[in-house]
Every structure is written in structure tokens, then in C-alpha cells.
């Protein structure tokens, strides 16, 4: 069971309150009509799925019901940080904390 800090509620709550929404920071193409099938397929289906640091979206479904982002290690499951939508992660694989 993960313990997740909701940056809006500013509280550490149990995983069951949250629902997972996959990779974060995927920008919707501004002009979808202009994309090729390959580019559209990439946008819809292809994910980074890293073994290591992952920036991902969570929804505090049984709490404030807001989306936020987390930086989590997909191997150790350790959550390095959670941050509000629109913010940038401070822990990245380039300048990882450890």
C-alpha cells in the first residue's frame, strides 16, 4: 500500500483514496488534424514506461477529487515528491536526488 501526499489536501493518505492516471506531462497536440497516423498513434498509445523514476498523474478520488503529479520510482515504489498540476518536477532522472 502506497502512502501518498496530496499536494492540495496537504495530507498523507492511503493509496485506496487515489486512482492512478498514468504518465504525466503528455501534451495534447494543438492541431490533431495535422498529425500523421503514426504521430497520432504515438500520442494515444506509446508511453515511456521507465524502470526507475516516473512522473505520473494521480487523482485524489476519495478526497479533494483533484489531479496532481508524483515522481515515483517504479522499482522501489518510493515516492520522491508530489506536486500540483502545472508545476514542474524537482526530481528528474537527469538530476536525480541520489
Amino acid at each position: 500500500m502506497l502512502h501518498i501526499y496530496c499536494p492540495y489536501c496537504e495530507e498523507l493518505r492511503e493509496e485506496e483514496e487515489f486512482s492512478y492516471s498514468g504518465e504525466a506531462h503528455i501534451a495534447r497536440p494543438t492541431d490533431p488534424e495535422a498529425l500523421t497516423d503514426a504521430e497520432w498513434g504515438d500520442y494515444v498509445f506509446f508511453r515511456k514506461n521507465p524502470r526507475g523514476l516516473h512522473h505520473e498523474m494521480w487523482n485524489h478520488a476519495a478526497g479533494c477529487r483533484r489531479y496532481f503529479n508524483a515522481t515515483r520510482d517504479t522499482q522501489s515504489y518510493e515516492i520522491h515528491e508530489t506536486y500540483k498540476m502545472g508545476e514542474k518536477p524537482s526530481v528528474t532522472s537527469q538530476g536525480a536526488a541520489q
Partner: protein
Amino acid sequence: MKKYSGFSLFKHSLSHHENWQKTWRSPRPKQSYDVIIVGGGGHGLATAYYLAKEHGITNVAVLEKGYLGGGNTARNTTIVRSNYLWDEASKLYDHALDLWYGLSQDLNYNVMFSSRGVMNLGHNLQDMRDIERRVNANRLNGIDAAVLTTKEVKDIVPIINDSQDIRYPILGASWQKTGGVARHDAVAWGFARGADQLGVDLIQQCEVTDIVVEQGAVTGVQTNQGFIGAKKVACVTAGNSGVMAAMAGIRLPLESHPLQALVSEPIKPIIDTVVMSNAVHAYVSQSDKGDLVIGAGIDSYNGYGQRGSLHVVEHTLSAICELFPMFSRVRMNRAWGGIVDTCPDACPIISKTHVDGLYFNCGWGTGGFKATPGSGHVFAHTVAHDDPHPLAKPFNIDRFNTGHLIDEHGAAGVAH
């Protein structure tokens, strides 16, 4: 390599079973091979076996970073069935089911395949409509399938709770009598022994750290035992496929999730079939040893940790206890997780890539075990001929860009 038989069992009993031959060799890697298979699980070993047996390609190595069959092959709930909705998927899984039936004889290794039937329960009107539709589709594809009423379910599984007053009452089920279970480890070991016998090198404790690509063609792999050259590299690495693909600069539409399962303490024979339920995310069968083998749903988050969260297991067990109230006092012995590589359309990728000589067999997600022989069979053809096997063709990676998905999500009795 000596053949296993009743006579050999008798002969070795005279020497207290101390002189059995090694099941496979443990060779040093050669400098290069015609084909390197990355991943020594069931699918990888089956691929090696069929490459050697059906296509005469024996200069093959299987590289395994841990030990043979130690990943998802050892972690699944051993269910075998082929009642998928769409033509492409049902043909592929039914091809595998055909191979299951002759597998022990073919391998001279008892994989303990037991066609004890697989039941998918329906708990509401929509479940039953979907079941009717799927059973009809199965029948049109020549797969044995039937719709059961609540009473027929109860006749087959007398211990099931058929009360209509529970949260998820049983309204009926789909039933594939030719499905069943097989001994998962034996499948890996049988294919390993068969491949080794035909000259394939099985190299354990050999982790691939890079796939070497020169001018758009694969030339070999870097491993913790040095560089090994190869004309063709075939990756069968389940949850780690995305990591392997990144080594060659390829992206795959996969996400890796933990999937948990657990077994109870051994109890006397109580359930002689496989009961699955999509709606409540639970399935159960009983092993020959007597333990109840229970599978849960996947954890929602991406993870490579081979473990998941406890509330997922709790959710499954509460469903099991409602379906089988008598199991409520059975103690659970062990729980574990595997990493499953889920695909957006819940169907596998069996495909060439844009790198010459590099092939991927992945994306089996939560249901790869049942396909082990078929997967190896069609993938071996794909690798040997550099051209997809007719059954594997629809499972090309290009489908995510062309839109020709095979949408088995929720349609196929896939519980996740």
C-alpha cells in the same frame, strides 16, 4: 539425452534416484549465434524449442538474467483457455490450446496439463449478454464453449454460493470444457530440456545490458558475460520489454504493472475446475498439491517491483469469500507479484521491428501463460522466415499506428 519413461523411473529407483542425468547443459556462451533469444521464460524457451525443431535452426542461445522460468512463468495462476472474442485472438490462443494437448508427449516431459474446464461467471445482465455474445463468437470459430445457468454452475461447483441475495449473485457463466491448468514450472523445464536436446545453448545468469545495432541491423548483444554476436535477436522479456526496446531505440506501447497471486495452505480436493470472475476480479483453482491458487487484478500503477499493494489482494479475497463462503477460514500461505506488460488493446505484440534482425514477442499482459506453446510456435516461424506467421500477422506492432487494434479489453473473459 536419455528419454524419460516408466522403465527409466524403475531403473533409477534401484539406485535411489541418485544417478539421473542433468536435465540440460550449462554451456559457456559462444562468440556468436544465428539467433539469440533474450529471456528464458516459457515463451522464450518455447521459441527456442520450435526454432530448432520446426525450422532446423539450432545455433541458438537463450540468455536469461536470472534462472530459467523464474519470472512470470513461475508467478502465474496456470490457467489455459482460448475463449477470446475476436477472430485473430481466438485463433492464436486456440492454436496454443491445440499444442497443449500433445505437449507432454512431444516434449517427453509431463507438463501436467489437465483439461478440467474453465468457467467465467456472469453477475449481472450485461455480463450475461457479453457471455452469450462471446460464446457464440467462440462457436463460430470452432472453439468449444457453452453458456451455463446458475444451476449448471452449481452442479459443476457444488461449493459455490448460488444465493441471489449477495452483492454479486451468479446469474450464469461461460464454460470452456477443453480449458484447464498446466504445471507452469514443468512447461518451462520441458521446453528448456527439449531445446537443449536439439542443441540450443541455455545461458543463465546472463543479463543483456545493450542491444548492438549497426546501420539499422542488429549485430549482437552486450551482456554481463561480454559481447555475443548474433544475426537475429528475439526479445521475449515480458515486463521488461520496454527497457529492452529502449536499448535499440524503439518504443513499445506497453505499460508494466504488478500482478499479484497467492496460494493457500494445502487442503483436500474441493474444487476440480477453474472458476473466474471478471466483475469481482478473482479466479481460483486447486493445484494437485491441494493449495487454492488465487489470482488478483493488476495494481493500477506502473511498477517493476514484482510486488503490489495489499488492498488489491484484500479486494480479491473478499470476492472469493463471497463466492465460496467455506474458504473464509482457509489460511493463505504465500503471495507474490509478477510484472506484466499490458498492451492498450490487451493483445500481444508478435512482430518484426524497423531494426533488421530484431524481433519482439511481448505485451501478453495478464494472460500469457495459456499461450506459451502457441506463442513460441508462431514467433519461431516469424524469426526463422523474417516474416510473420499467418496467425501472428495481426499482432504486428504497426497496428497502434494504423488503428487495426484487436480490442480484447473486457471482451475476452480477460479479468483485468
